[in-house]
């Protein structure tokens, strides 16, 4: 079986697939790729099933050796990948010769790059998923981010992967956005009209203290004081909760499953993958939309992801 050798790991490189939804009653959040669209497109480029495990690289990538060669694709953020000193085109499939070293640097644009490999990364699944839950040390490769010296198994690839690249139209459709679309949160009416105006008008900055668990936002403090007492309840992916100090926090893929802060808004399903590309200090705004519009945006996005002839040339 072929393998991948970690020569240096980068800032935080983890094995991720599309996560493990459905274990809320056990207190387990879904985890999975922070930008699942990028991972899916990478997998499709190397003719994997869309949910096969790949590597998620965060802000600074490492270097990886393929002793037996591989067919790969790079998607998501541009971490300046090179092979033998030459830049490797992103959003396209490439055949690497045995012994090839793939090197990454620091990001040139967004937060997370994805390395998809034909055949996928093989790890023992936890609750049906290969994805790493970093906070609780579960899943993925030994429940942790990769380190120098790790050797990962690569599954069997489909034969003769065609060389292909993504279309500009598809890249445009999935591009990161600074304006995240939201629907109202379950406690939206706990906040005053003035507070909501500020929330939908002002620019917020992603704090350095942000990770796969949640993104803390800096900016105008919202009035987080509420007359009512909140009883801890289930929280959904992309919920924007407001702490008593007025700081909004976006709950992300490794979120706690329940929480006791009121939620002013929730990022729509079609924009969740864009949260995964927000770097520390990125500036964002929120735009209110309806449940019906959110639903049609999601259905349109899924339709496009299921039509390879529109995605690739």
């Amino acid at each position: 079986m072929s393998s991948l050798l970690v020569e240096s790991a980068g800032l935080q490189t983890t094995v991720q697939d599309l996560g493990r939804p459905g274990f809320g009653p056990e207190g387990v959040s879904a985890s999975g790729a922070a930008d699942p669209v990028a991972l899916r497109l990478g997998n499709l480029l190397v003719e994997n099933q869309p949910g096969v495990a790949g590597l998620e690289l965060t802000l600074v990538g490492g270097s990886f050796v393929f002793p037996d060669g591989a067919v790969i694709a790079l998607t998501g953020a541009d971490l300046g990948a090179t092979v033998n000193g030459r830049p490797l085109e992103m959003w396209a499939s490439h055949t690497l010769e045995p012994g090839t070293k793939l090197m990454f640097g620091a990001t040139r644009n967004f937060a997370r790059g994805y390395l998809a490999i034909a055949g996928g990364i093989q790890v023992d699944p936890f609750l049906g998923s290969a994805s790493t839950h970093v906070l609780s040390g579960l899943g993925g490769f030994e429940g942790r981010a990769l380190r120098k010296g790790d050797r990962l198994r690569i599954g069997r690839a489909s034969k003769n992967v065609r060389r292909r690249r993504i279309t500009l139209a598809a890249l445009y459709a999935f591009k990161p956005r600074k304006v995240l679309r939201v629907t109202e949160g379950p406690q939206a009416d706990w906040f005053s009209e003035t507070t909501k105006q500020v929330f939908y008008r002002d620019v917020f900055r992603v704090s350095e203290e942000s990770d796969r668990v949640g993104l803390r936002l800096e900016g105008t403090a919202l009035d987080g004081s509420t007359a009512r007492e909140m009883i801890t309840e289930g929280v959904s992916l992309g919920a924007v909760q407001v702490t008593p100090s007025g700081q909004p926090i976006i709950l992300f893929v490794e979120q706690q499953t329940t929480g006791g802060y009121p939620k002013i808004a929730n990022i729509i399903a079609a924009d969740l993958h864009r949260i995964g590309q927000l770097r520390p200090r990125a500036e964002i705004r929120f735009q209110r939309t309806s449940l019906a519009v959110a639903r049609s945006l999601w259905i349109e996005q899924e339709r496009l992801l299921n039509e390879p002839e529109q995605l690739f040339t």
């Binding site: 939804p21 459905g22 274990f23 809320g24 009653p25 056990e26 207190g27 387990v28 879904a30 936890f126 609750l127 839950h133 906070l135 609780s136 040390g137 579960l138 629907t183 109202e184 949160g185 379950p186 009883i231 801890t232 309840e233 289930g234 929280v235 959904s236 992916l237 992309g238 919920a239 706690q256 499953t257 329940t258 939620k263 929730n266 990022i267 729509i268 399903a269 449940l291 019906a292 959110a294 639903r295 999601w298 259905i299 899924e302």
Partner: protein, 224 residues
């Protein structure tokens, strides 16, 4: 039952307005029915004290359909009995390095540390739900005599097995995570194991008791 959109792909069903056995039973019955007869669009259910968060696939259903289905399930639960609870005993070594907040909790309530241990380990608790982190069970109701608010700033790392209290709740941290609950002791049991069929030692609806043990017993149990 009140229903609200939590997001474009989730709704919250509220089955009560105060924490207690009545709301808990309604949550548990609806959860069990949804688990026994999962609608085709359901993706996840997250129970809590008085509510159930239901995540669904929005390509298959919209909020109107999901709400109607949840309401019809809720009506059917009235005929159901709550499942029988099992009892779980958790051995705890209180105080010292395992329970760094025991003395302060005692001082806040004008009690001796031994009295706090006595109160904490005399009650039978109810597992309202699991949340926060894998296997983390919210247990209640902690007797008012030792109820203490959370720490004002959380610890960066609470060791696995730590037994904490917050308000009228108590819990065991199944894994090392950040946490703001006041720590009274630690159990040598592994609360959450990915390689076990029942991953968490405590499930929603269980009855839980704490049994004080010595340092020596802690060591023996940890090795055994």
């Amino acid at each position: 039952m009140k229903v609200r959109a939590a997001s474009d792909q989730a709704i919250l069903a509220y089955l009560g307005e105060e924490i207690g056995q009545a709301a808990h039973e309604r949550v548990l019955k609806l959860l069990r029915l949804l688990q026994q007869e999962p609608p085709r669009w359901i993706r996840n259910v997250q129970p809590a004290y008085c509510s159930l968060l239901v995540n669904f696939d929005i390509s298959l259903a919209d909020h109107v359909e999901v709400e109607e289905t949840i309401r019809s399930y809720e009506q059917r639960t009235e005929k159901h009995r709550a499942p029988k609870a099992s009892t779980v005993e958790i051995p705890v070594c209180y105080g010292g390095e395992f329970g760094p907040d025991l003395d302060e909790v005692a001082a806040v309530h004008g009690l001796k540390p031994a009295q706090v241990i006595e109160v904490h380990s005399s009650e039978t608790y109810h597992a309202y739900f699991l949340g926060f982190a894998p296997g983390f069970a919210y247990l209640g109701d902690l007797p008012a005599a030792i109820a203490t608010p959370r720490l004002s700033s959380p610890r960066k790392r609470v060791p696995a097995g730590s037994v904490g209290i917050a308000g009228r709740q108590t819990a065991v941290y199944p894994m090392a995570t950040p946490g703001a609950w006041r720590l009274l002791g630690r159990t040598p049991l592994r609360m959450f194991r990915a390689d076990r069929k029942m991953m968490g030692l405590i499930s929603i609806g269980d009855q839980v008791r704490f049994r004080p043990i010595t340092n020596r017993e802690f060591g023996e149990l940890e090795r055994g």
